[in-house]
């Protein structure tokens, strides 16, 4: 594309956006609305992931020690656990501490039983694995160690939780893919429409001797601009919305930790900008071909 052509293409793209204000606004509107929805959903999805991850990382294994184990056996067990490559954290919980915790939970109803020899609870190790999904396998392995009375990892709870999060993630992913497909369809359709409405213009250009690329360039740039604006506006909107949500959550739902703002914006930009501009460009470039055949 020679220099003249370059300026012509940009100038023409801008002029045409201006000339077809109504279509421009509507097209950008469609892109903004779909990407805003998609982005909003990605936000929720990212945070759901984040939250389930943090929940999962709190899943722990409890290894109860045989009451009959000797100190040497206990020490050996601790060392084996500390050396285990799948374990991230190993903490000893004495039977006294276990009882104290239970009392805390039940309140001052069990007062006076501290230090009692009748404490029915055993000593234990609380363990955390690097990979929460490995909990089951690791627990089985540890059950075969000597001096271990019982290994507990809330089998039902953990598996239920994982199944539930897997289900939520599945649904979330389905909705996300649905939204993404919707966005692709709608944006492409909208851009095709702007081309369709101007098919007469395209044909007349061909009649006076324009090459296909001479005609295509302004349309492609137009698609690019529509896609770009249509991606940047929802990003700005989501930035604002997310900042407000973060404030609200940190004030009202302190136990939730959300993905930090910059990380989210990077993630969103990574998808929305290519999606908007890419579809804008491809939408114009390809929907034009059938009108270029004169």
């Amino acid at each position: 594309m020679p220099c003249n052509g370059f300026f012509y293409a940009w100038g023409e793209a801008l002029r045409s956006l201006n000339r077809n204000k109504w279509m421009t606004i509507a097209s950008i509107g469609v892109v903004v609305v779909t990407l805003l929805m998609l982005g909003g959903f990605m936000l929720v999805h990212l945070n759901l992931n984040h939250i389930t991850e943090s929940v999962k990382s709190q899943v722990e294994i409890v290894v109860y020690i045989e009451d009959t184990a000797t100190l040497a056996e206990r020490n050996e067990l601790r060392e084996r656990l500390v050396a285990h490559s799948a374990l991230a954290e190993v903490r000893f919980v004495s039977r006294d501490e276990a009882l104290r915790r239970m009392k805390e939970k039940l309140g001052d109803l069990v007062e006076g039983y501290e230090g009692s020899e009748e404490n029915p609870l055993p000593d234990s190790f609380e363990l955390r694995t690097h990979n929460p999904e490995a909990v089951g396998a690791v627990a089985e392995e540890l059950a075969r160690y000597p001096a271990v009375a019982k290994v507990d990892y809330g089998k039902a709870t953990v598996e239920g939780l994982f199944q539930a999060t897997r289900a939520v993630q599945l649904v979330a992913l389905a909705l996300m893919i649905g939204l993404a497909v919707t966005a692709v369809f709608l944006i492409a359709h909208t851009i095709r429409m702007t081309v369709f409405i101007r098919r007469r213009e395209i044909m007349i250009m061909k009649y006076v001797g324009a090459t296909n690329w001479f005609i295509r360039w302004p349309f492609v740039l137009e698609g690019l601009l529509i896609g770009l604006f249509g991606a940047i506006l929802p990003l700005a909107g989501l930035y604002y919305i997310y900042r407000v949500s973060l404030d609200w959550v940190s004030a009202n739902l302190m136990f939730l930790t959300l993905v930090p703002l910059p990380l989210v914006m990077v993630e969103l930009s990574k998808y929305l900008i290519p999606l908007g501009t890419g579809l804008g460009i491809l939408g114009s470039a390809f929907s034009m071909d059938r009108f270029l055949r004169v």
Partner: protein, 229 residues
């Protein structure tokens, strides 16, 4: 410039031939009227010349190139050498007269300085110096037709093809338009005009090709003697 040999065309498969065994040759610098009743095939012949369509049989050579064999990407360059006035104008209704004409120059990569210099000149030529900034849809039928002519001549093409260029014009303006075409012709441009304005044909005394239901019924050097008029 244009050579037709056994040229056939039909729009529908197995339909009637709209152009039927045309044989003629138009040399560089000629001025030719194409006449014939409504539906005789004049516009179809022009569509073939700008390669909007390709012959179903026979050959058509323009500027020495066989159009049936011309690759798609060469077509724009063919069209830049042919200034065409369309029977239905084919202007961009929602743009100004200036833009419509400038358009044909931009296509060839002309600079905007050149465009600003030349467009007012051709607008003057077709008698519409004060309509540069009027939208095409706000122009009268005859005015639109003249914008169409202005667009056709803006690039000083080697050949001008005008399909019924005076259908919406009063005799005076028609004569003006014919004069413009003649002046281009005198400076070497080949001119083909399809028209129903037989008065003009008689007046100009140029070569006349008469089509009758797609057949070449007459090809006379001087319009005045064309038997069918």
């Amino acid at each position: 410039m244009i050579e037709a040999e056994g040229l056939y065309y039909c729009y529908e498969k197995n339909g009637d031939y709209v152009l039927n065994d045309l044989n003629f040759k138009i040399d560089r610098g000629e001025f030719v009227f194409i006449i014939g009743a409504s539906g005789a095939g004049k516009s179809t012949l022009f569509k073939l010349i700008i390669r909007e369509i390709v012959p179903v049989k026979g050959t058509l050579k323009v500027f020495g190139h066989d159009l049936a064999r011309m690759p798609r990407y060469r077509v724009p360059y063919l069209r830049r050498n042919i200034g065409m006035v369309f029977q239905d104008f084919r202007l961009l209704e929602d743009r100004t007269a200036f833009d419509n004409i400038a358009f044909a120059m931009q296509v060839t990569g002309a600079s905007s300085r050149e465009i600003r210099r030349r467009v007012p000149y051709v607008l003057e030529l077709v008698g519409l110096p004060d309509k540069a900034n009027a939208k095409v849809c706000d122009l009268s039928g005859g005015e639109q037709q003249r914008i169409g002519l202005a667009r056709a001549i803006i690039n000083r093409p080697a050949m001008i093809i005008a399909d019924e260029p005076t259908g919406n014009l009063d005799p005076e303006n028609s004569y003006e338009i014919m004069n413009i075409l003649r002046s281009f012709n005198i400076r070497g441009t080949t001119v083909l005009v399809a028209t129903h304005n037989h008065e003009m044909v008689k007046l100009l005394k140029k070569r006349v090709i008469l089509l009758d239901k797609g057949r070449l019924a007459a090809d006379e050097a001087k319009g005045v003697s064309a038997g069918a008029l």
